[in-house]
Amino acid sequence: MSRRCGLAALGLFLVLSAGSVLGELIPTPDFSQHPIPTSSVPSAAETAREYVDVVSLALALGLATYWALVTRSRRSLFLLSISALVWFGFVRKGCVCPIGATQNIALAIFQPAYVVPLSMVILFVLPLLVTLFFGRTFCAAVCPLGAVQELVAVRSVRVPGWLHHALSLIPFVYLGAAVLFAATGTAFLICRYDPFVAFFRLNGNANLVIFGVCLLVIGVFVGRPYCRYLCPYGALLGILSRYSRWHVRIPPDKCINCRLCEDVCPYGAIDRPTVDPTPADVARGRQRLAAVLLTAPLIVVAFALLGTRLGGPLSLLDPEVQLAEQVRREELGLTATTTDASDAFRAARRPASELYAAAGARRDRFGHLGIALGVWVGLVLAVKLVSLSVHGSRSEYEPNRTGCVSCGRCFWYCPVEQVRLGLIQDPAERMEST
């Protein structure tokens, strides 16, 4: 019966699909009915709206923290993430958000003329503060980007550890680049390359839509790919979460090391208990750590030197440098066409020499910032290598504080949790059933 219903539904949907294609072949009536839109200047957003954003963020953070740490309700967290997706995503259209606010803060720090609204500062700082105390509950059920990925994580596979560690460095590199470009006033990279904002607005750059779709398709099999391997704000949250005062735990009480949770996290964020190393392992580990510590400064210096080569390529994103390049190419006859920007420049009667001088100054600034980016990347690499060289010590199964997004998926699998919920009397019951 259910199979027949399924087939009937399939047929219905195929007809609808065909209609959506055929619709293209049927000409629309009468173009003369098309209303010519009148252009108008949109009014400035009301100040109250900024505080609605702040209040709704604070409320969501509070609820997420409460449901993750206190009531340990996966269902509530899931419903909250859907609500966050609808409100912060589709209603507020993904802007403003704490992730993008990183750039506003960077711009405000480096450009005194830019005044960042207080609400923006709160949006940026509040999730960081909450994370410092309670872990990444922002990621659990508040961030709409995380929420949409959470929804599609259906058949997650485990990413090999060695690959995960390498890919997890990308958010830090992205963070450095985003701060650099924001600080120079060149571009807000995080906003420009947000893969999901086009979904929220049902409109956007085609390439980014395709990128977002690819991320979601990947997200079906690899949990939260953007959060884990791209999100620059997540890099900051991961650092703070590592030192959080409180954090989600897998069992509500003591862990009985039943191993039932060890592979259930779709994000690979459950650390197993460690085994005491042998003296030989300890010696090897110390040697490895010493080598890494000695190499760390060299890595930082090497990447600083590499950063000196980046000033030119990085500056190509700057609109003034792009304009100077275009104007110069036109003068040299290297391009047969002009651009709107170069036409406007010539119409404005600005001397080309001034433009070149300004572009040269911008490029020099990027040269210095390229070194800073190189130092940052070197530091990140060095710290990562050091952290991998330090042997941890765990006696039970714990969420990896850096990677755990406090989503609560692991709760159901824990027999101690099942006892708490009254579903079983004794953890042994669950263990016997496996």
Partner: protein, 619 residues
């Protein structure tokens, strides 16, 4: 909930998810197809632009206007229809995806099973196992970042070099007076070439087409070749792409003369043709003008007059042979560029509106400045040779066609000359070839750096170089003609001169390549023919009882020779002989070179501009 119910619900959710996924995939495919077929700006489709282009030449064609309106409507209709479909499809897609995901999750929850860790899974020390691999993967990632950084640095190429003209130099060059003025002539014997003044006056920098539209793109190379945009045509070789040209005319009776129009001011510049107009300059001691004639009717559409400026400190002397308007104009399809014996340069758009004006200073030139202009890409090339060699006043300038600002300039170790530069593409490099005593020099178009030079000339240089089949032909009365192979570096006198000859070399007329032959027209009337590849002895010589200053032209198999008296011969040049086709008379003196466009020949006589050809009736 019993097992059967669970299984039924699970199946329902799975099927729902599959159906919704298929539906979403179909909608996504339809959206992708719609996106692929979209036209970002419907008003830039080639068919539409072509019709608009036709309308420019046929402004009164009502059926054409109707077609344009219909096409315009159809394009806009299609554009908005696709947008509407994209919006509708997006909603469908969102709904389908939401349904697919929700059903899949519901099925996953129903199907949730407890994990089954292996009883004998001895994982050892996970820290130790992962750490080693992770260290290497992080190191690999670091190496990848380093490679990317190096590649970005190495692959980075900027046209903004350190030696761009600075703002302070540009300001110093501008005269204090706001009106355009001929700058004081450079002091002879100073030994230093002063930086050329930047444009002193710019009117509108937005060049307009005659219909008022403002094109921002240069026409394609094919259009340049179909027209006659500079001295001796698009490639500077005097060869028409249109083989069907008139061979018979008689100025006094009007036979074969479609029209002739008086030119207000005298000049020895040759006509250039762009689309439906013919352009000429004329000048005397007091005035300098550019004329635009209708190519079909010969009517004067407009004339542009150079604004009067301050009088030069000393009167400019030019010979009658040269006059004040000897350099032939040039065009980039958007603007007309003109120069005069006074060293004044100007850009005028196709509607006659001045775009920019510039004065290079009155040149120190014994006969008067006569080198014509050349355009390549967005550069206007000006060969400004003057004075004696030791004066070090000569230079080659590349100006921005849009603004007249100097992009680069290079000093030349030559005295005054009257040859026009030639731009040649060879093995991916674009070079401008110049002639001046004693050098033929090739410069890189991009930055003016010298590529090669050959010591192949002597004395006053009038003829302009031509190029064909990897060879540059530079000729002058002394020492003769040289064929120089392209592609050299540095001084190629000893290595790249394929052949030289001294018989029949011209002192004014530029050479002509006719298939595998090189034809030289001497001023005193002798037409000499060589093998272009091998040189050697002349294949033949033909005497014409007249004097020549006009450079020969080629259309099809016919070579056109215009003599000073106004007589003109049409001949066929073969290896064996010079075969006479026709002898004609323009009816007035002629020292300029012909322009060949669309089956018509345009030539300037002493007082008139002629259009030679046959009308539809064959007259």
């Amino acid at each position: 909930m019993n097992e059967a119910t669970l299984r039924a619900r699970y199946a329902t959710f799975v099927w729902s998810s599959v159906i919704a996924a298929v539906f979403s995939a179909v909608v996504a495919a339809a959206l992708a197809t719609n996106f692929a077929r979209r036209v970002p700006d419907p008003l830039t489709t080639p068919s539409y632009l072509e019709l608009k282009e036709q309308l420019r030449t046929q402004p009164d064609d009502e059926p054409l206007k109707q077609r344009i309106r219909q096409l315009d409507l159809a394009l806009r209709d299609d554009y908005f229809r696709r947008r509407q479909f994209a919006i509708f499809g997006t909603w469908l897609l969102v709904g389908g995806i939401v349904l697919a995901v929700a059903a899949a999750k519901a099925a996953a929850i129903l199907h949730r099973r407890l994990p089954q860790p292996s009883a004998n899974d001895d994982w050892g020390d996970p820290e130790a196992r992962h750490a080693q691999h992770a260290l290497w993967s992080v190191a690999g990632f670091a190496a990848l970042l380093a490679v990317l950084a190096v590649a970005a640095g190495l692959g980075f190429h900027s046209v903004l070099t350190k030696d761009l003209p600075s703002a302070s130099v540009a300001r110093k060059s501008e005269p204090s007076s706001g009106s355009p003025a001929a700058a004081a002539p450079a002091a002879p014997g100073s030994g230093v070439s002063k930086p050329s003044p930047q444009p002193t006056d710019v009117v509108a920098s937005d060049p307009q087409q005659p219909d008022g539209s403002s094109p921002v793109t240069q026409p394609a190379a094919e259009e340049f070749q179909r027209n006659w945009p500079r001295f001796r045509g698009a490639l500077g070789n005097g060869i028409s792409v249109d083989a069907s040209m008139p061979t018979a005319w008689d100025g006094p009776s009007g036979k074969g003369v479609l029209w002739k129009s008086p030119v207000p001011l005298p000049g020895n510049s040759s006509p250039i043709v762009w689309r439906d107009a013919v352009y000429l300059t004329g000048a005397d001691e007091n005035q300098r003008e550019l004329y635009c004639f209708d190519a079909s009717q010969g009517t004067l559409r407009w004339k542009w007059t150079m604004p009067a400026g301050e009088a030069a400190p000393e009167p400019l002397e030019v010979t009658e042979d040269t006059g004040f308007a000897a350099p032939t104009p040039a065009t980039d399809g958007i603007r007309m560029f003109v120069s005069f014996a006074t060293g004044d340069l100007a850009a005028v758009d196709l509607s006659g509106k001045q775009v920019w004006l510039r004065s290079l200073g009155v040149p120190k030139n014994s006969y008067g400045h006569a080198a014509s202009l050349a355009v390549t890409g967005q550069l206007l090339l000006v060969q400004f040779d003057q004075g004696a060699r030791n004066d070090k006043l000569s230079k080659l300038l590349a100006l921005s066609t849009a603004s007249g600002e100097t992009v680069w300039e290079v000093a030349r170790e030559v005295p005054n000359s009257w040859s026009t530069p030639l731009v040649v593409e060879h093995e991916g490099q674009s070079v401008v070839i110049t002639c001046g005593d004693p050098w033929v020099i090739a410069y890189n178009v991009t930055d003016g750096k010298e590529v090669w030079r050959s010591k192949s000339l002597r004395q006053d240089i009038g003829p302009s170089p031509v190029a064909a089949n990897g060879l540059v032909f530079a000729a002058n009365e002394f020492p003769g003609v040289s064929a120089i192979r392209l592609g050299g570096q540095g001084d190629v006198t000893a290595t790249h001169v394929a052949w030289t000859a001294d018989s029949g070399a011209p002192d004014t007329c530029s050479p002509l390549v006719v298939n595998d032959l090189l034809v030289l027209q001497a001023s005193f009337g002798t037409l000499t023919c060589y093998s272009a590849a091998e040189g050697g002895d002349p294949l033949w010589e033909e005497e014409f009882d007249d004097n020549f200053r006009s450079s020969p032209g080629l259309a099809g198999e016919n070579v056109y020779l215009f003599a000073e008296s106004g007589k003109a011969w049409v001949v066929k040049a073969t290896r064996e002989k010079c075969e006479h086709v026709a002898e004609n008379d323009l009816g007035e003196e002629c020292v300029t070179s012909p322009a060949f466009v669309a089956g018509r020949l345009y030539i300037r006589g002493k007082e008139h501009l002629f259009c030679l050809g046959t009308d539809v009736a064959g007259k």
